[in-house]
C-alpha cells in the first residue's frame, strides 16, 4: 500500500547472529546492568523518619491566625469559601457578645469553620482572598493520612492557631 506521506521507513527484522542466538552475551550484559543498580544509591526516602525538604512557598495545612492580642482574626466574611475552587470551606457566622472582645477581633466571627481536607487542593486561593489576613497555608505541615473520612474535616479546634503563652498568662493576670 502506498503510504500517505511517503516517509514511512521499511523495517525488516534481521536474522539473529550466532552470539545473539546464544543469548549468553545478552544475559551477561543484563546481569552486569542489574549488578550496577544493586550498588547504586537508593532513591527511597524513608518517610516518617526522613522527610523531603519543603520549599519556602510550599502550601500545606491551613492555619487560622490570631492577631497580636491573641484574638481570632477571621470575621466569617465567607470570601475564602467563595474563592475556594474545590468548595472545601464551610462556616457559620455569629455575632460577638459583650465581654468577648478579647476573643474575637471583629463584631462578627466564625462560630464554626470547617475545611474538608479531602476536597481541598491546596491551591492557596483562600489565603489570597482573605481581607483580614486570617487564613494561611503553612509551609511546614501536611494534612496527614487518616483512617476515617470524617477525620479529614478540620474544624476550628484543629485550624485555629494555639494561643501564644505570654498572652494566656497575661490574660489570666488581667
Amino acid at each position: 500500500m502506498q503510504s500517505l506521506s511517503n516517509r514511512a521507513k521499511k523495517l525488516e527484522k534481521k536474522p539473529m547472529n550466532l552470539s545473539e542466538r546464544m543469548y549468553l552475551p545478552a544475559i551477561f550484559q543484563g546481569l552486569s546492568i542489574t549488578m550496577r543498580h544493586f550498588f547504586k544509591k537508593k532513591a527511597t526516602i524513608k518517610y516518617p523518619e526522613e522527610t523531603r525538604p519543603m520549599s519556602a512557598v510550599w502550601r500545606g495545612l491551613h492555619v487560622l491566625k490570631r492577631d497580636e492580642k491573641g484574638r481570632e482574626r477571621c470575621t466569617a466574611c465567607g470570601l475564602c469559601a467563595v474563592a475556594c475552587p474545590a468548595e472545601a470551606i464551610t462556616m457559620v457566622a455569629g455575632e460577638r457578645k459583650r465581654g468577648e472582645e478579647n476573643l474575637y477581633r471583629e463584631e462578627k466571627y466564625a462560630v464554626s469553620y470547617e475545611i474538608n481536607m479531602l476536597r481541598c487542593i491546596f491551591c492557596g486561593l483562600c489565603e489570597e482572598a482573605c481581607p483580614k489576613a486570617a487564613i494561611f497555608l503553612q509551609n511546614d505541615k501536611l494534612a496527614p493520612a487518616r483512617y476515617e473520612r470524617d477525620e479529614f474535616i478540620y474544624g476550628k479546634d484543629r485550624l485555629v492557631e494555639p494561643m501564644p503563652i505570654e498572652l494566656t498568662s497575661s490574660a489570666a493576670a488581667r
Binding site: I27, G30, L31, I33, T34, M35, H37, F38, K40, K41, K42, A43, T44, K46
Partner: protein, 352 residues
C-alpha cells in the same frame, strides 16, 4: 556404639532439616531485598532491625488467612498437592555432603545425613517427583488456569530433565561414581599444585552451563517460570490456593532453590573443598568446619544468582522454552557426552 551412631545421624538429619528450612525462610526475605536493591529501592525494613522479622510476619499472615477449598475441587488431592511439593523439596537435601569428616574421640563423623552410593540418582528422582506436587495441586483445583499451569510445569520438567540427565552423565564419565560423598571428595585433590581445586567445573564447563539452565527450569524460576506465569495464567497452578497451601508452594520453591544450589556447588564447584585446604597446615577438624562454611558460601552465591537472574531477565515464551529445551540443550548435552567420552578415551590411549 550403635546407639551413639544413630544419635549422631539423627542430630545431623535434624540439623540439615533445620538449616534447609531456615535458609528457605530467609530466602524469601533475601529475594525481596535483592529485588529492591536491583530496582534502587530499600526493600522490607519495618519488621525488626533491617526488616529481619519479615519472614515471620509473612508466615503469621499466611497462617491467619482462610484456608479456602473451591467447591468443585477434589479436597484430598487439593491438600495433598502442596504437602507433596514441600515433602519432596525437603527430602533431597538428605544426601548432600555438607562437609568432610569431623574426628571426635578417634571416631570419624561424616557431615552428611545419609550416604547412598547412588546419591545423584536419588536427588534426580526426588526432584522429578517434585512436579507431582504441582500437577496434583493444579489438577485438583478444578480450574482451567491451574490445570494449564500444571500441564506446563509437567511438560517443562520432562523436557529439561532429559538435558539435565545428559549433562550429569557427562559428569559421571569424569568422576566414575554416583555417590555425592565420593564426588565431593574427589574434587579435593590437587590441580596444578593447588590442593582442593580439582573442581569439576574445569572439566565440564559446558555440562555446568546446561545443568544450571535446567536447574532454573526445574525450580520453575524466571526466566522459566511459565507454570505460574501471571500474565497468561493468573497465578498458574496455585491460583486457587490461599493460606498455608499457598505458603507451602512458595516455600517449596525456595527449598528447591537451596537444594539446586547445594547440588550445583557439590557437583561442579568443589563442594566443601577450598583452595589450599591441605597446604595451610591446619588441624583436620578446623579444615572440615572451614569447608562447611565455604560450601555454604557457595550455596549462598548460587541462591543469590537465582535471584539476580530473576530480576534481570524477562520470561521466555512457551515455544521458545520448548525450542531451547529440545532443539538446543538436548543436542548440546549429547555432544557434551560424546566429547567427554572421547576425551577420556584419548587420555587413556595416549597419556597413560
Amino acid at each position: 556404639m550403635e546407639l551413639s551412631l544413630l544419635l549422631i545421624k539423627a542430630l545431623i538429619i535434624l540439623a540439615v532439616f533445620g538449616v534447609t528450612l531456615l535458609i528457605a525462610t530467609y530466602s524469601t526475605y533475601a529475594e525481596r531485598k535483592v529485588a529492591a536493591f536491583i530496582q534502587d529501592r530499600v526493600g522490607p525494613n519495618r519488621a525488626g532491625p533491617f526488616g529481619l522479622a519479615q519472614p515471620l510476619a509473612d508466615a503469621v499472615k499466611l497462617f491467619f488467612k482462610e484456608e479456602f477449598v473451591p467447591a468443585n475441587a477434589n479436597k484430598f488431592l487439593f491438600i495433598a498437592g502442596p504437602s507433596l511439593a514441600m515433602l519432596t523439596a525437603c527430602m533431597s537435601s538428605a544426601v548432600i555432603p555438607f562437609g568432610g569428616t569431623l574426628i571426635i574421640g578417634g571416631e570419624a563423623i561424616h557431615l552428611q545425613a545419609i550416604e547412598v552410593n547412588i546419591g545423584i540418582l536419588y536427588v534426580f528422582g526426588i526432584v522429578a517427583l517434585g512436579v507431582y506436587g504441582i500437577m496434583i495441586g493444579g489438577w485438583a483445583s478444578n480450574n482451567k488456569f491451574s490445570l494449564l499451569g500444571a500441564i506446563r510445569a509437567a511438560s517443562q520438567n520432562i523436557s529439561y530433565e532429559l538435558a539435565m540427565g545428559m549433562s550429569i552423565i557427562a559428569l559421571l564419565l569424569v568422576t566414575g561414581t554416583l555417590s555425592m560423598r565420593d564426588i565431593a571428595a574427589q574434587q579435593g585433590e590437587e590441580l596444578f599444585g593447588i590442593s582442593g581445586m580439582n573442581w569439576n567445573i574445569f572439566y565440564q564447563p559446558l555440562g555446568f552451563l546446561i545443568f544450571i539452565v535446567c536447574a532454573f527450569a526445574e525450580t520453575n524460576r524466571v526466566p522459566f517460570d511459565l507454570p505460574e506465569c501471571e500474565t497468561e495464567l493468573i497465578g498458574g497452578y496455585h491460583t486457587e490456593y490461599s493460606s498455608m497451601g499457598m505458603g507451602l508452594y512458595l516455600f517449596a520453591e525456595y527449598v528447591n532453590i537451596f537444594v539446586a544450589s547445594a547440588v550445583m556447588s557439590t557437583l561442579y564447584f568443589g563442594g566443601y573443598n577450598f583452595p589450599f585446604m591441605d597446604q595451610l597446615g591446619l588441624p583436620h577438624n578446623v579444615v572440615t568446619i572451614l569447608g562447611t562454611v565455604v560450601l555454604f558460601g557457595k550455596i549462598f552465591f548460587f541462591i543469590f544468582f537465582f535471584m539476580w537472574v530473576r530480576w534481570t531477565l524477562p520470561r521466555f515464551r512457551y515455544d521458545q522454552l520448548m525450542n531451547l529445551g529440545w532443539k538446543i540443550l538436548i543436542p548440546l548435552s549429547i555432544a557434551n557426552v560424546i566429547l567427554t567420552g572421547g576425551a577420556i578415551l584419548l587420555k587413556q590411549e595416549f597419556f597413560q
